[in-house]
C-alpha cells in the first residue's frame, strides 16, 4: 500500500465519506424513480463513485478501487439506460457502499479485506446474470464460504494471539470454546452505564430456527434491548441468512450489553444457561449455567482461567490490558481499534468566508484593545467606555461566529434515516413513508454527534412498534402506508425535533399496569395519573425490559436510555400519544452546550444559575396571597398555578443553606427563619394565625415564633420583599417550583466544570463566572428534585390528590376565574378577566396625547388608543397621578389600552358575581375580592360604546348567516348565563337558556329541530357538560350539533377529556370575541 502522506489521505477520506453519504440518499432516490431514470442523480452518483475510485487508485487502496470500479460499471449502465435500477440492484449497490464506508473507516487494513462477494454480485448484475450470492440474498443451502472463512479468521485471532492492542480485550469463556474480541473502552463504558455485558453463543439452528424464530428477529430483539458490542458474524449477515432446520451452522457468538439482570437475561435469549456468560468488570467471564464444569468463580479469577491448558489468552485476562508492546500481527490489526482512531481524528470543514469573518473580528478586537489600553493609560474615561462597548460588541459577534464554525445541519443525522426506515420496513414487511423536514436546522457539532443514536432508536421504534402491518392498518381504516414525520425547527432559542407516526400509539393503561407490576409506581399513584403521565412512564428508569417487546405495545424499549442520553445533553423529551392514532415524541435541545442562557437567582447570599432550558416561568407570590395559594399536602408544599398544583421546593432547604431576607426599609439582610412556606402567619393577623392552625393542626406555635421575631420589630410579612419568588422549572417529565430568595436577570453564561472535591455535590451541573468575577453555581434541577425526594410520580400523585380536592372545592363553590385587579381612582377597585389582557405597560401621564378628541399614546411606532372606565361607566374619574398603567386588550383585532393605576394583581377567584346590584353600562357586575367591592369591567361593552365603528364589519358578517340560528346555552351561574347570553343575543342569535345539563338535555329534545349549536358550561349540578356532550354525541338525532364548552380554567386534562367526549371547541367565559368567532365559525361551516 502506498499511502502518500497523512494529510492527503485524510483529505481523501473526508471527501469520500461525504460522497458516500450522498450516494446513499441518491441511490434511494434512484430506486424510487425506478425505470424513470433521473439522469442528474445517476450522474451525480456516478461521478462520486468515480472520484472515490480515482483517489483510491492514487492512494494505492486497491480494494476500494476495485469495489468502486464495479459500482461505477453498473451506474454507467443505468445511466445509459441499459439497465433499470430495480430494488435488487440498488440493494447490492447500497451494500457495496456500506462496505465502502467500513473500508474507509479502517483504511489501513482495507486492502486485506475480502470483498469478493460484493465484486461477484456487482459483476453478476453488470452482466445481467441473476445475482448468485449477493450478500443480501444468500442461497438457502449454501453455507457461505467466505463467511465461515471470516469466522475462522476472527476465531484465529482470538485463539492464537493475545489481545493485540491495549484497547482491545479478548473475552473468552473459561473453556475457551467461545471467545470474542471487543473494544475495551466500549465494554467498560457500557458497564459504567450500569449495563450487564454477556457473552453468549447462539446456535442459530438449534436455538433459533428449530424454535420457529427467525435470526433477523433475534438480532432485532437484541438490538432493541441493548447494544451488540461484537459478534462473530456481522449482524447484517445473520439477518439475511436463510437457514434450514437440521442444518449445521457455526455458532453465532455475541458480546452483548443490556440492562437485563443475569436472572432475566434468558427471557431474551431463550438458550441454555451454560451458553451465556456474564462478563465481569475485571473482564473475566462467568458462566451463568451451573452445570458448566469450568464455571469461573469471581473471586480468584486468574486461577481457573489459567488452569485451562494451552490457553494463553485466558491467562491474560485478569490483566486485560494486554501489553501494548508490539505483537506480531501486522496484517490483522483489530478493525475496531483503527476505526475508533479514525473517528477521533475528525476535522471540520469551515467555509472560507466564515474564517475571513473571524479574522476580521479578531482584527477589530485587537484594535479595540489598543484603544482601550491607550485610553486607560491616559485616564480617558470616555474613551475607555467607548472601547469597552466596542469590545462588548465584538465579543458577542466573535462568539457567534465561532459558534457558527461548530454548527452543523441536522441533515447529517436525518439523512441516514431514509435508509434505516427503508431497510427496517422491508425486513418487517411494512410500508412506511418517511417525511423529513427542517434538515437545515443547525446544531452544535457535539450535539449532532450525540443525538444520532437516540434519534435512530426513536425512528426505529416508530417503524417497528408504532406503524402497524399493512393489513392491520387497512383493517382499522388507515392508509396501509404508514407515515413517519421527522421534523426539526427552531423555537425560543432551542431546537425542537419531533418524531411522529400515525401508528397505533401507546396504551397508557398497559404502561401503567406494567409499571405497577415492576413496582415502579404504587396502585394509588397509577389511579390518579393522567393519560399523559402514564405515557411518560415509559421514561422511568428500569421500565424497559425484554418481555415488553411482545407484551405491551412495545414502545419504550430502551426509552429510559434515550432519555438519559438526552438529559446529558441538556435536552428534554416528551411524548404525546393517542391510542390507535399515533404518537409524537418531542425533543428540545439547546443549540450549544458551551454557552447557555441562564436565569440567575439568589439564595443565601450566593447567586445560582438555572439553565433556561429548564425554566418555565417566574412566579412571584405576594405576601398576602401566600396563604391562599400555597397549601400543604402531606409533607409537601404546593402552589396553585392556573388550576394546577405545582410542588414547591425551597432551594435553601435542599442544598442546606440559609435563606436570606432583606429588610425592605433598611436594606439590612437577616436570616429568613421561615421554616416552611405556608407557615407565614403574622402575629397581628388573626386570620393568618387561624389558617395556620387549620393547616398544621398546631395551636401553640404562636409564642415561640413571636419571640424569635422580636429581632425584627416590624412585621415584615406585609412588605413586598416578603413575597415568595418561585422559579418554575421543568425537567421534561416533571415540573416544580423552586423557591429562591431573589430573582435576578437572565444571562448567557459559560459552563465550567467543578473540581473533584465537589463531584459529589449532585445539585450542581457546574459553575460559571459572573460579570463581577465571582463564581456562581449552576443548578441541576433534575437532581435537586431528586434530592428533595420529589420524583415525577410522587409529585404528580401528590398534585393529583390536591387536584381532586381542588375540583371538589370548585364544585362546592363556583367556577374559578383568573382576574386582573386594578384601580382607576384610588378607592375603587376593578377587575377584568386575566385571559383577555394582552399585557400591561407602565407609562407617564405626560406621554398621553389627545388627538381628535381621543387619547392615544405612541407605542412601538403606532398609536395605541386609550380609554378609562369613567368614560362610559358612572365611576370616579381616573386618578390624577404621574405614573399610570395601561392594560392592553385586543378587541376585534385592534389593540386598545385601558388606563389604570396600581396596585395591579392577578388573582384566582371563585366568582360569585352579583350581576344586578351594581350593574351599569361598562360594568357587568360586582364581587367581593380581598374585602373590597370590586366592579367587573366589561371591556367589550366599553369599547363598543366608545368606538362603535370597530364592530360594524363583524356584525354585518354575522347577520348574513346567523339570522335564524338558535343556540342552546347551559350554564348554572346566573351571572355568567346572563352575561354570555347577552353576548350571543347582541350578535343576533336566539338563545335558549338552561340552568344545568339535565335541563339542557330536556330542552334539546323539545326544540330539536331549531337548535343549531350548543354552548355549555362544564361544571354544573345534575348533569355536567361532559355528560351532556356525551349524550348529544351518542344520539343519532343530535350528534351533528357542534358543542362549544365554556370554562373558566381550561386545563389540559379537561381539554383532553372534552375532546374524547366530542366537545368541538373550548372557549373561555367572558372572552366574548373568541366565543362569538367560534360560534360564527361553526355555524357558517355547517
Amino acid at each position: 500500500m502506498t499511502i502518500q502522506d497523512d494529510e492527503t489521505l485524510q483529505m481523501y477520506l473526508e471527501e469520500s465519506i461525504e460522497h458516500l453519504a450522498d450516494i446513499e440518499t441518491d441511490l434511494l432516490a434512484i430506486e424510487e424513480a425506478g425505470a424513470d431514470i433521473d439522469e442528474d442523480i445517476v450522474n451525480k452518483v456516478y461521478r462520486a463513485a468515480h472520484s472515490i475510485k480515482g483517489g483510491a487508485g492514487f492512494m494505492g487502496l486497491t480494494t476500494i478501487k476495485d469495489l468502486t470500479h464495479e459500482m461505477e460499471n453498473i451506474l454507467g449502465k443505468i445511466r445509459s439506460r441499459e439497465m433499470v435500477p430495480t430494488p435488487e440492484i440498488v440493494n447490492v449497490l447500497l451494500m457495496a457502499s456500506d462496505t465502502l464506508k467500513a473500508l474507509m473507516n479502517d483504511v489501513f487494513t482495507s486492502n486485506d479485506v475480502d470483498i469478493s462477494q460484493h465484486i461477484e454480485a456487482l459483476q453478476a448484475i453488470a452482466e445481467g446474470r441473476p445475482v448468485p450470492s449477493a450478500p443480501a440474498t444468500l442461497q438457502p443451502d449454501e453455507p457461505p464460504a467466505s463467511e465461515s472463512a471470516m469466522d475462522e479468521k476472527a476465531g484465529r485471532i482470538s485463539e492464537d494471539e493475545p489481545a493485540s492492542k491495549s484497547e482491545v480485550v479478548t473475552l473468552a469463556a473459561a473453556d475457551n470454546r467461545i471467545a470474542i474480541d471487543a473494544d475495551r473502552a466500549m465494554v467498560e463504558g457500557l458497564m459504567n452505564e450500569g449495563k450487564f455485558v454477556y457473552l453468549a453463543t447462539i446456535d442459530l439452528i438449534a436455538d433459533v430456527i428449530d424454535k420457529g424464530k427467525k435470526p433477523s428477529a433475534t438480532i432485532e430483539e437484541m438490538e432493541q434491548t441493548g447494544t451488540l458490542i461484537a459478534c462473530s458474524t456481522s449482524p447484517d449477515r445473520v439477518r439475511s441468512m436463510k437457514l434450514k432446520k437440521g442444518q449445521a451452522a457455526d455458532p453465532f457468538i455475541v458480546l452483548f450489553a443490556t440492562i437485563l439482570k443475569p436472572e432475566d437475561i434468558n427471557v431474551l435469549f431463550e438458550i441454555p444457561d451454560h451458553q451465556i456468560h456474564q462478563v465481569m468488570p475485571d473482564m473475566t467471564v462467568q458462566c451463568l449455567g451451573q452445570k458448566s464444569a469450568a464455571a469461573v468463580t469471581v473471586d480468584d479469577t486468574p486461577e481457573p482461567a489459567s488452569a485451562v491448558k494451552s490457553d494463553p489468552m485466558a491467562a491474560a485476562e485478569p490483566e486485560p490490558v494486554a501489553t501494548p508492546a508490539p505483537v506480531e500481527i501486522p496484517a490483522q490489526v483489530q478493525p475496531k481499534t483503527t476505526a475508533k482512531k479514525a473517528e477521533t481524528e475528525t476535522s471540520l470543514r469551515v467555509h472560507v468566508s466564515l474564517l475571513d469573518q473571524l479574522m476580521t473580528l479578531a482584527g477589530e478586537l485587537v484594535l479595540s484593545r489598543n484603544q482601550l489600553l491607550q485610553s486607560m493609560s491616559s485616564e480617558d474615561h470616555r474613551g475607555s467606555e467607548i472601547a469597552g462597548q466596542r469590545i462588548d460588541l465584538i465579543t458577542s459577534e466573535l462568539q457567534e461566529a465561532i459558534m457558527l464554525t461548530r454548527m452543523q445541519s441536522i441533515g447529517n443525522v436525518f439523512n441516514k434515516f431514509p435508509r434505516v426506515v427503508r431497510d427496517l420496513s422491508q425486513t418487517l414487511g411494512k410500508n412506511v413513508d418517511l417525511h423529513l423536514e427542517g434538515k437545515d436546522v443547525e446544531l452544535d457539532k457535539t450535539i449532532i454527534e450525540a443525538i444520532g443514536d437516540p434519534l435512530t432508536h426513536l425512528v426505529r421504534n416508530a417503524v417497528d412498534h408504532g406503524i402497524e402491518m399493512p393489513d392491520v392498518r387497512r383493517g382499522v381504516g388507515k392508509n396501509p402506508v404508514g407515515k413517519i414525520f421527522l421534523k426539526a425547527y427552531h423555537e425560543a432559542g432551542q431546537v425542537n425535533i419531533e418524531i411522529s407516526d400515525d401508528g397505533k400509539g401507546l396504551d397508557g393503561q398497559v404502561l401503567a399496569q406494567k409499571a405497577l407490576e415492576k413496582g415502579l409506581i404504587s396502585e394509588d399513584q397509577a389511579k390518579v395519573m393522567s393519560e399523559k403521565e402514564r405515557t411518560n412512564l415509559i421514561f422511568l428508569p428500569g421500565f424497559s425490559t425484554a418481555e415488553k417487546v411482545t407484551d405491551v405495545s412495545g414502545r419504550g424499549v430502551g426509552m429510559d436510555v434515550v432519555k438519559t442520553n438526552l438529559d446529558k445533553l441538556g435536552g428534554i423529551i416528551d411524548i404525546d400519544s393517542e391510542l390507535g392514532k399515533g404518537a409524537t415524541i418531542r425533543i428540545k435541545l439547546p443549540l450549544t452546550l458551551a454557552i447557555i442562557p441562564c436565569q440567575i437567582v439568589m439564595t443565601g447570599q450566593e447567586r445560582y444559575a438555572i439553565p433556561q432550558v429548564n425554566l418555565e416561568e417566574l412566579l412571584r407570590i405576594p405576601a398576602d396571597q401566600v396563604k391562599d395559594r400555597i397549601e400543604r399536602v402531606g409533607d409537601a408544599e404546593v402552589v396553585r398555578l392556573r388550576g394546577n398544583l405545582l410542588p414547591l421546593i425551597k432551594l435553601a432547604t435542599v442544598i442546606d443553606t440559609e435563606a436570606i431576607y432583606v429588610d425592605p426599609k433598611t436594606g439590612k439582610k437577616g436570616l429568613d427563619r421561615r421554616k416552611s412556606i405556608s407557615d407565614r402567619r403574622s402575629k397581628e393577623s388573626p386570620l393568618f394565625a387561624s389558617a395556620e392552625q387549620d393547616t398544621k393542626g398546631r395551636s401553640s406555635g404562636e409564642n415561640g415564633n413571636q419571640e424569635s421575631d422580636t429581632r425584627q420589630p416590624e412585621d415584615r410579612r406585609y412588605h413586598a420583599a416578603s413575597a415568595l419568588n418561585v422559579v418554575v422549572v421543568s425537567t421534561g417529565a416533571m415540573k416544580y417550583g423552586l423557591v429562591v430568595d431573589e430573582l435576578h436577570d437572565s444571562e448567557e453564561i459559560v459552563v465550567k466544570p467543578l473540581g473533584r472535591d465537589l463531584k459529589k455535590c449532585k445539585g450542581y451541573a457546574g459553575a460559571t463566572i459572573m460579570g463581577d468575577g465571582r463564581v456562581a453555581l449552576i443548578l441541576d434541577v433534575a437532581n435537586l428534585a431528586q434530592m428533595a425526594g420529589l420524583t415525577s410520580i410522587e409529585g404528580s400523585s401528590r398534585a393529583a390528590e390536591v387536584i381532586q380536592e381542588n375540583l371538589r372545592s370548585i364544585r362546592e363553590q363556583k367556577d374559578r376565574q383568573s382576574l386582573l385587579v386594578f384601580r382607576s381612582a384610588e378607592n375603587e377597585q376593578f377587575a377584568t378577566p386575566l385571559n383577555m389582557v394582552e399585557r400591561i405597560e407602565k407609562i407617564k401621564a405626560t406621554d398621553i396625547e389627545t388627538v381628535g378628541g381621543k387619547r392615544v399614546i405612541r407605542y412601538r411606532g403606532s398609536s395605541l388608543p386609550l380609554f378609562s372606565v369613567d368614560e362610559v361607566a358612572m365611576v370616579q374619574p381616573l386618578a390624577d397621578v404621574e405614573d399610570l398603567l395601561v392594560i392592553v386588550f385586543i378587541i376585534n383585532g385592534k389593540e386598545i389600552g385601558l388606563l389604570a393605576i396600581g396596585p395591579v394583581d392577578a388573582i384566582e377567584f371563585s366568582l360569585d358575581v352579583d350581576g344586578r346590584t351594581l350593574k351599569q353600562a361598562g360594568i357587568m357586575g360586582s364581587a367581593i375580592i380581598n374585602d373590597h367591592t370590586t366592579l367587573m369591567v366589561d371591556v367589550y361593552e366599553i369599547v363598543q360604546t366608545l368606538n362603535p365603528q370597530w364592530f360594524e364589519n363583524m356584525e354585518a358578517a354575522t347577520n348574513d348567516k346567523g339570522e335564524a340560528a338558535k343556540i342552546l346555552f347551559a350554564e348554572d351561574s346566573n351571572f355568567f348565563r346572563n352575561q354570555v347570553k347577552s353576548y350571543m343575543e347582541d350578535e343576533g342569535y336566539a338563545v335558549i337558556e338552561a340552568e344545568d345539563g339535565a335541563i339542557a338535555w330536556d330542552l334539546l329534545q323539545k326544540h330539536a329541530d331549531e337548535i343549531s349549536l350548543v354552548v355549555t358550561d362544564i361544571e354544573m349540578p345534575n348533569m355536567n357538560g361532559f355528560e351532556l356532550t356525551r349524550r348529544i354525541k351518542a344520539s343519532n338525532a343530535y350528534s351533528h350539533l357542534p358543542v362549544i364548552a365554556l370554562t373558566t380554567l381550561a386545563g389540559e386534562e379537561d381539554i383532553e377529556k372534552g375532546r374524547q367526549v366530542g366537545i368541538s371547541d373550548y372557549q373561555i367565559k367572558l372572552d366574548r370575541e373568541k366565543l362569538v368567532r367560534s360560534i360564527y365559525g361553526f355555524l357558517t361551516s355547517m
Binding site: I655, T657, L754, R756, D757, G763, I769, V775, L777
Partner: protein, 152 residues
C-alpha cells in the same frame, strides 16, 4: 521513602515553600506551587465537603479552595490579613490550599529529612512525606497528592 525528584538533583536538596497551618509550620516542594494569592472572595458551595471553603475565579478557571487546616485536622484556618491561598496544580486541575500565613522558602536536604512520626502535631501522618529540622523549627513536609486525594 525513595524520592526520585531528590535523586535527580545533584545535591539532593529541594526548595520548600513553607507556611503556617494554624500553629504548625508545613512545607511543600516549591515546584508544586503554581502561585500564591490572597483572593478571598469565594463562592460558598452548600453541601460541599466540610473542608471545602468555596470556589474561586482564578483568571477564568474555577478553583476549589480547601481549608488546609480542616483537611489536616488542625482545626479551621482563620481568615485574616495574613491568610493566603496556595494554588497547586494536581491532575490537571487547580486547587487552592488556604493557609494561615506564608513563611520563607527553605532549602531542605533530603538526606536530613526524617520520616514523619506517626502523629505530628495532631496531624495524620499519612499526609506528610517527612519532617525537616531547621535551626529553630520543625517543618512538616506535605505530600500534596495525598492531601488532595479524596479516596481515603
Amino acid at each position: 521513602m525513595e524520592r526520585p525528584e531528590g535523586k535527580k538533583m545533584a545535591s539532593r536538596t529541594v526548595e520548600m515553600a513553607t507556611f503556617y497551618v494554624g500553629k504548625a509550620l508545613c512545607g511543600m516542594d516549591i515546584l508544586n506551587v503554581q502561585e500564591i494569592n490572597k483572593l478571598m472572595d469565594m463562592t460558598t458551595v452548600p453541601q460541599a465537603p466540610e473542608y471545602v471553603m468555596g470556589i474561586l475565579n482564578l483568571r477564568g478557571q474555577i478553583v476549589t479552595i480547601i481549608d488546609l487546616g480542616k483537611k489536616l485536622n488542625l482545626g479551621e484556618t482563620e481568615m485574616g490579613d495574613m491568610s493566603r491561598n496556595i494554588i497547586v496544580n494536581s491532575k490537571d486541575e487547580y486547587i487552592g490550599l488556604l493557609v494561615s500565613r506564608i513563611s520563607d522558602v527553605v532549602e531542605a536536604d533530603w538526606d536530613k529529612v526524617e520520616p514523619p512520626p506517626s502523629n505530628i502535631g495532631g496531624v495524620q501522618g499519612k499526609f506528610f512525606k517527612g519532617v525537616f529540622k531547621t535551626k529553630e523549627r520543625l517543618i512538616g513536609i506535605l505530600d500534596v497528592e495525598k492531601v488532595l486525594d479524596n479516596e481515603k
